[in-house]
Symmetry: C2
Subunit: 241 residues, 2 copies
Amino acid sequence: MQSHHIVSAYDDELKYLTRKVAAMGGQAERLVDQAIAALVNADAALAKKVIADDTILDEAQREIDDKSIVLIAKRQPVAGDLREIIGAIRISADLERVGDLGKNVAKRVVAVSEGRQPVSLFRGLQALAELALTQLKEVLDVYASRSVERIEFVRARDNQIDAMYTSLFRELLTYMMEDPRNITPCTHLLFCAKNIERIGDHATNIAETIYYVVTGDQMPIDRPKEDKTDKVVMPVEIAAK
Amino acid sequence: MQSHHIVSAYDDELKYLTRKVAAMGGQAERLVDQAIAALVNADAALAKKVIADDTILDEAQREIDDKSIVLIAKRQPVAGDLREIIGAIRISADLERVGDLGKNVAKRVVAVSEGRQPVSLFRGLQALAELALTQLKEVLDVYASRSVERIEFVRARDNQIDAMYTSLFRELLTYMMEDPRNITPCTHLLFCAKNIERIGDHATNIAETIYYVVTGDQMPIDRPKEDKTDKVVMPVEIAAK
């Protein structure tokens, strides 16, 4: 009986950890969602809330880290259980970073709303954010359901995010060239777009971690997770106008 | 004798892990150093080498991760040894990301060299990179020497890096406003500067991990690691010129 009791307490601890990671995922999603809403609606009050809420994710990560390490030391897990705990440490680090990126978008709300950007830019940014959020949401669903066979969508969508980000990058540069008064707000929007693109990368990281947790194997190293804007050079004709 | 043999093999495994992390630190430093040199000298061949070399860091991280997990499963470490192994996992993740950031700078070399930027911009970027590299170097020294009492320098220097990055950010925006032909190359330089600022953040992360490994405590959460450019709005007079 005693041994049964111990095993079951251990199970509870493991389950607590995964539930905590899943909850943190939901919080990260909400934070990014609100950050984008604050940006698109120039809502400084919501931006302020997002910036404050980010500490919830910092604290969640710290708790998951602490609990994981205590669990390893106390239970000396091997195989699947050990991967589960290492997975919790990794995923919570990615989610904490997602929160930082959302916060960073929120922090630019005031600087962006000083200018008057074309509505199409916000539409582009919103579409990019929706794609990144869908990516995050599906990855967290896979974490909950353990259905790693569904993980291939991640790479396909990461390519879409990259393509959308690159086209937004070009569009922002064009607006900057058309009118120097667009330069400051569009630069902040560029960084917002970059932050959102990075959220997609973290979703991909999480997918890779889940794959490892469930299968014990690493996903093949070859993957698209790359910023493709590094070679973007705008034609000088536009600049010379 | 048998037990002595086992303990000593375990010690060797732990030492191998820390040596591997230290070596990875040296590789990351070199990669960033070369990325900056490639950028400043518009050296496309060196940039190409840096981009290729980044896989060395990817592989090093994967090896450290694998070895760490095997070590935990096999040796069931507690207390200091467990922190040492968890520390290796975390630090190698930060170093892998430093490599990515260096690679990202290298990837922009071609787009930047299309324009002719004022020398002062490169001087600013070089100074920023030197500060970030010194930060990384000292943090790795602390990792080797375990002298955590020296760790306070990290926060002071991170403030310096942030201040320098903010002034570079303003300078780049000014150049963009002066001549639209500067917009494309200066945008790439903005991202290079941001990447370098992030390298400083990762050095700070590593410092925090070392503190945890050595003391068993978390460093207080309050810290400067923040991008301060989010509120930068350039005066419209410059834009209206």
